[in-house]
Symmetry: C2
């Protein structure tokens, strides 16, 4: 197992996932979460399982002007190559009642598990507010 | 490597850590964070490294009536036994300006690394608000 290569694959997967969420239908990217993934949104109880996560993201997508994107900062892969975590940043935009876009920046920790078929899936997806803008690109 | 035993050791470590933080001086429990740990408090940039974390926890401890405790909910250990994560809950109490204790409940994700000496150290410590009280004990 080449930790560095696995880590780079995960960073690429995260970037591609963010790009897909911005442009593609939910069916194209919902499976990046494992069937038993846990999402931990601020202010809510844990959202457990892919079906509940799908409901959560579909509801969020209906918010006026909703956009989310993120980028990975660092990755660490276990020696056995079956578990990894990343520190990431995100930016979420919604339109306020005056029609102005409002962007909130967040810090993110994601945990990843390698499945029997060799694919990495997200098993924990957690974020909170952090006054650190993304380093690149729009919001 | 016995994943179940390692997981149980981590759950016990987390419970003992919470008890120590409540009662013992900072020198007795600061080393549970790895030298290069990253703490991710809501609303702040990442707190990087044990020295900065120490400053953060010492400042928090001076808040009027400050108390924190937590309990682990679940644990997952990599096959190689060098990396693990836990989902936990916490409860933080401070005294408000009227002298009343105010408790905030949080969801927690912690990531752990096994060091060369065989000890587990916390490398990521992240939480956000979650309206789910601790299931046991005070407050």
């Amino acid at each position: 197992m080449d930790s560095r290569a696995e880590g780079e694959a995960l960073m690429t997967l995260s970037r591609e996932w963010s790009a897909k969420v911005a442009t593609a239908p939910v069916d194209d990217w919902i499976d990046v979460w494992a069937e038993d993934a846990v999402m931990m949104p601020p202010g809510l109880p844990p959202v457990r399982g892919r079906a509940a996560i799908r409901e959560y993201v579909e509801t969020a997508a209906k918010l006026p002007g909703f956009q989310i994107r993120w980028e990975p900062e660092s990755v660490c892969v276990s020696q056995s190559g079956d578990l990894a975590y990343m520190i990431e940043r995100n930016a979420t935009t919604v339109t306020d009642s005056q029609g102005n876009p409002v962007t909130t920046f967040g810090k993110v920790v994601t945990v990843w598990r390698k499945e029997a078929d060799g694919s990495w899936r997200n098993v924990v997806d957690m974020w909170n507010e952090g006054p650190v803008p993304l380093s690149r690109g729009r919001p």
